[in-house]
């Protein structure tokens, strides 16, 4: 803070002498915060240690034996859960502040170990037999329970991706485009159903005030999946793909309403860009059917004109929506 400037504010009568003193005090007592540096180091340490241990175990599996490792994981997991359950603040449907810095990390570690343990048991003893769905469902359900009990957004994301895996949809940010079979009709229905479910869960979290701060995470995964899945169906141009465009449009209307309601610029931009992409794709598909083949300079210029005009219109629209949203904006 610029003390000289605050002195000027004081001279102009904009702040009281007491406030000026407080500002001066705050500025001179200001500490150098190493919060993020320390958190990053801690996180890095955990990642390195677990990776190293993983390789170590993998290489020495013959001499250690599966039983010993499973026992170790189980003991570690139990210890983490013991610690977290003991320190856990009373459950509430609102946001609960975590008791100390390490609590969140221990919760994360406990849940990772739990999932590893379940996977290991299935791999070694086929604990769930050939019910592979069950082998994914139980850890996922456990993760959801943990996310709500310990009020942990990271665990919630893990649980949501677990839910996706159980249904058969890859949801992690880097895999959503790479590892999904969008050309498979069954898969598409699953993906869209999952997307709608996630968005609804987000909505319920918000309206019922069941952990309202979880709403964003649900909606974030749901909305991306919905738009990607419906758009994928649109560009495949199977019979009846215009219906998918209508579905996408309906989703866009909902997201518009949602972002106006929850004051989310992020969802608003998402909606605008995905819809623009979809509308342009439809126009190009229709166009493609009627343009005489062999002729391309004229159509190409028209296409460029189309993008220039519509992009300008969309910019104006976004600016307008932004102003509208900002008028009763709760977030500065």
């Amino acid at each position: 803070m610029d003390l000289e400037q605050f002195r000027r504010h004081f001279e102009a009568g904009l702040i009281s002498e007491e406030s000026l003193k407080k500002v001066t005090l705050a500025e001179t007592n200001r500490h150098f915060s190493v919060h993020w540096e320390l958190r990053t180091l801690l996180y890095l340490g955990v990642v390195l240690l677990t990776t190293g241990l993983g390789i170590l175990i993998y290489k020495n599996i013959d001499s250690i034996g599966h039983e010993a490792i499973i026992t170790a994981i189980a003991v570690g997991c139990a210890a983490c859960f013991y610690y977290t359950v003991k320190r856990k603040p009373a459950f509430a449907w609102s946001k609960v502040q975590s008791p100390d810095t390490f609590y969140d990390y221990i919760v994360l570690l406990a849940c990772t170990l739990l999932v590893t343990l379940a996977g290991y048991l299935q791999f070694r003893y086929t604990l769930f037999g050939t019910h592979y769905g069950l082998a994914l469902f139980l850890p996922m359900a456990a993760l959801f329970v943990c996310a709500y009990t310990f009020d942990h957004l990271g665990i919630l994301s893990m649980a949501i991706t677990g839910l996706g895996a159980w249904v058969g949809v890859a949801l992690t940010p880097l895999d959503i485009l790479r590892n999904n079979a969008f050309d498979n009709p069954v898969f598409l229905f699953k993906a869209i159903a999952l997307a709608v479910l996630l968005v609804l869960l987000g909505r319920v979290s918000g309206t019922k005030q069941w952990k309202p701060h979880f709403a964003f995470t649900y909606e974030h995964f749901g909305i991306h999946l919905f738009f990607i899945a419906t758009y994928a169906e649109m560009i495949l141009e199977r019979p009846g793909h215009y219906a998918w465009f209508l579905l996408l449009a309906a989703g866009a209307v909902y997201v518009y309403w949602l972002s106006m309601r929850s004051h989310s610029f992020y969802f608003l931009t998402l909606m605008a860009l995905y819809s623009y992409l979809a509308v342009s794709t439809i126009i190009m598909q229709v166009w493609d059917q009627y343009v005489p083949k062999g002729e391309w300079v004229g159509p190409l210029s028209l296409l460029f004109m189309y993008f220039i005009v519509t992009a300008i219109l969309l910019i104006l629209l976004l600016v307008r929506w932004h102003k509208k949203l900002k008028q009763d904006d709760r977030i500065p």
């Binding site: 605050f6 504010h9 406030s19 407080k22 500490h31 150098f32 915060s33 190493v34 919060h35 540096e37 320390l38 180091l41 801690l42 340490g45 955990v46 390195l48 240690l49 190293g52 170590l56 810095t101 390490f102 994360l108 999932v115 996977g119 791999f123 592979y132 957004l153 990271g154 994301s157 893990m158 991706t161 677990g162 895996a165 058969g168 949809v169 949801l171 992690t172 940010p173 880097l174 895999d175 790479r178 999904n180 498979n184 898969f187 699953k190 610029f265 931009t269 860009l273 210029s301 460029f304 004109m305 993008f307 220039i308 992009a311 910019i315 976004l318 600016v319 932004h322 977030i331 500065p332």
Partner: protein
Amino acid sequence: MIAYHKQQLDNRAIQEDVVAAFRRKAITAEEKQAIINAYPTRGYSPHFAIRVGLFVLTVVIAMCVLGIGALCMMSGLDSEAALRSLLIITGLVAYGGMEFYISQGHFHSGVDDALRWTSAGLLLAGMAPFERDTEATLLAVSCVLAGLFTLRTADPLMAVASFLSLLGSVLFSLHQDIAGQSTLPFTGMALSAIVYSAMRYLHHKPACRYYKGVFPWVLTASLLTFYMAGNYAVAAAMTGNPYEGNAPAHMPFYWTFTALVPVVYIFLGIRFKDAILLRTGLGLVAAAIFTVRAYYHALPLEWALVIAGAVLIFISYMLIRYLKTPRHGFSDEPGEDASRFTKLQLESLIISQSMQAPAAPQDHFDFGGGSGGGGGAGGTF
């Protein structure tokens, strides 16, 4: 020099300061409002998400304008001069657009950002030499161009681009003769050090207050290039003679440099409470470790990971406990940017990507036709 309205930029800085003071409960809400009313800002600088949207759309428009231009002069495009003039004219149009929107009050709204970068890119493409072995000239042009854009718009990334182009240009021109090659690391260090000192000198000058956002970026970049210039692996690649076992001259010097500089950065960062030095130093410790490991395998990888991880956890744990009450002017309180970070909810996304539930062996899964279960299993649709 700067295109943005100066009074507005000053008011913006005052408002940010006042909000910070309010957040630390030093002033009352009425006082905050009174100051904000006394120093109003107008103009358009939307939320980050809107900015990204406007950026993308503006780039689409600029590319389509270029496309239409190319179609209009279709037949003339086989000559290089015609292509160049098309690129330069479009670049100038984009630049004019940027100036117009800035005069209309757009302040990092996404529109002015996009026009700035497309304009710079088109102008560079239009002026750059197309022949072989002209990297030094290309980078010199890029340095001047990005430098001018930095002066006009105070864009931190433009400034970094200008600095890196300058460095690249000098190094490439030295690289062309054998005698110059052996001096490459030292030239790189000297140039980085000069730029760093110059930026340090200018950083807090009142005359440079409109460029305040530029300095941290260039300072970090110059610290990184300074280290890279003397890093053993880089020096070996730049000056090493393949016929002599690829070892650069002054080997002990480079190894000492590789190991010592990150520590010196961290030490100075703590000593002078300089976040830029501290963070760069911490990042470079990793670079130093990777360099050493690339040449010497004293420890198997897994043990190195386990030991490094345990040491990191121990150090950070002890420091967090130690700093529970602030000491020696250091604290573990989340800073101002903490709330912005949680608002983006980035952390949970990083967790969902990096801590994927390692599900049981994937080959055995079969989701009735649809595969891609468990976040893996590609290729077996």
